[in-house]
Symmetry: C2
Subunit: 245 residues, 2 copies
């Protein structure tokens, strides 16, 4: 990978690359400190610094005696909480179901190529979903999934798990971008969401990457009167114990 001037950064980058590439999936045991010390011919302190940085970024978990393991991919980290619909419904105590309105392998096309840095003839799986709480539609989602990056998605029927949750569970991401707009619902959107035509809706476009490779784009439409987004940040806050989570 990138040649880092510092040894601890180099160690960190090499482990990070193995995790992000999928070579070391979640749960994989990472070499213990003394093995890395031997491998890099450095002191334990240097290895410790590299591993501590990986802990801070949430990529690995460390426990005494048990060693270090690759962490499961996390939710977008308290940054802009795009709800996992099933989880959110469970917390709110309402029923959740979803419907797949459309599913097809499509080429990206010129408009998509403008939004995403990929050629217009690149093949994507396109899925349209409606998310429903207690018989009320709460969101409509049009999603593109990069078949080159996630070929396994072709074997998934999405009969139990919606595409968003399926991807979150399986594919770690290293970069994400949101665009949030307000639009008036057109006739078709209003029909799908059971709202009045012209009602204000939130349109959230979210694109995620893994190590520079485009993974997926979701364009989610929320009725303005039923949903809103919340983000919380605390840069240097919290007198809290160091290792929680």
């Amino acid at each position: 990978m990138a040649g880092a001037p510092n040894l601890h950064q180099r160690i960190r980058e090499e482990i990070e690359a193995r995790i992000l590439s999928g070579e070391w999936p979640p749960g994989t045991r990472i070499p213990v400190e003394h093995e890395l010390v031997a491998q890099y011919g450095c002191s334990r302190m240097t290895v410790s610094k590299a591993l501590s940085a990986l802990v801070a970024s949430g990529l690995i978990l460390r426990r005494r005696r048990a060693g270090s393991v690759v962490a499961a991919p996390t939710q977008p980290r308290a940054v802009l909480e795009i709800p996992d619909f099933a989880q959110e419904a469970a917390r709110a105590g309402v029923s959740y179901r979803f419907e797949i309105l459309h599913r097809a392998v499509e080429r990206l096309g010129p408009a998509g190529a403008r939004r995403i840095a990929l050629p217009a003839d690149h093949e994507m799986l396109s899925v349209a979903t409606v998310h429903i709480y207690d018989s009320v539609p709460v969101a409509h989602e049009r999603r593109l999934i990069n078949l080159a990056a996630v070929p396994a998605v072709l074997n998934e029927a999405f009969d139990r798990i919606p595409p968003g949750s399926w991807l979150l569970d399986r594919v770690p991401w290293s970069g994400a971008e949101h665009a949030i707009r307000a639009i008036n619902a057109d006739a078709e959107q209003a029909r799908r969401l059971a709202i009045a035509p012209g009602a204000a809706c939130l349109l959230v476009e979210r694109r995620t990457w893994q190590a520079g490779n485009f993974i997926t784009e979701a364009r989610t439409l929320y009725p303005g009167d039923r949903q809103y987004l919340v983000g919380r940040f605390s840069p240097p806050e919290g007198h809290h114990d160091p290792r929680s989570r």
Copy 2:
């Protein structure tokens, strides 16, 4: 100050407290490593670990020879970029001005007390602003500022700098919360923003705290067709807080 079990965390917390309390404002020189070594009776490595964590969380800057200084309060850290209107206009090459529509000291009231953890009779400075690019209104902002936390705001006329930029420049924040909604503009909002009644708008509510004390709430209304919000994240890289979480 919380008694931390580790020395490097205790050092970090004590410096952090001085910065967040305002005792060490931005630009203040921090004791050099060997001074902290003497003060805490520890090795240089331990001091270095504490200061590195403060660098990672963006609270201080370190330069060789020049020493370490308290960093200026940063923009919301590439998390959800709420534009600074003047900066954004300058980048886009359009003219910027703003108008103060209303300014008064008011009590919070019951509705405000529900949103903010303060008593209903707490005194706030209330300011309403319209932001204008090239004669086109792009946002309407209603802001409450906690007079107990920022008494100096009473002496500011906001004739050159709008309230949001003024606060960003002066008051560091340690916590923030956003709520983002889509609403249809009512008649008065439409008039202020020169849009059609019923047009979809983004309503962004943003509340910020400093060390547990409420600072300000801004409720900003953007015409949906003129503005949108962008957020970018990269979990394993970038600014991270190695301690909490």
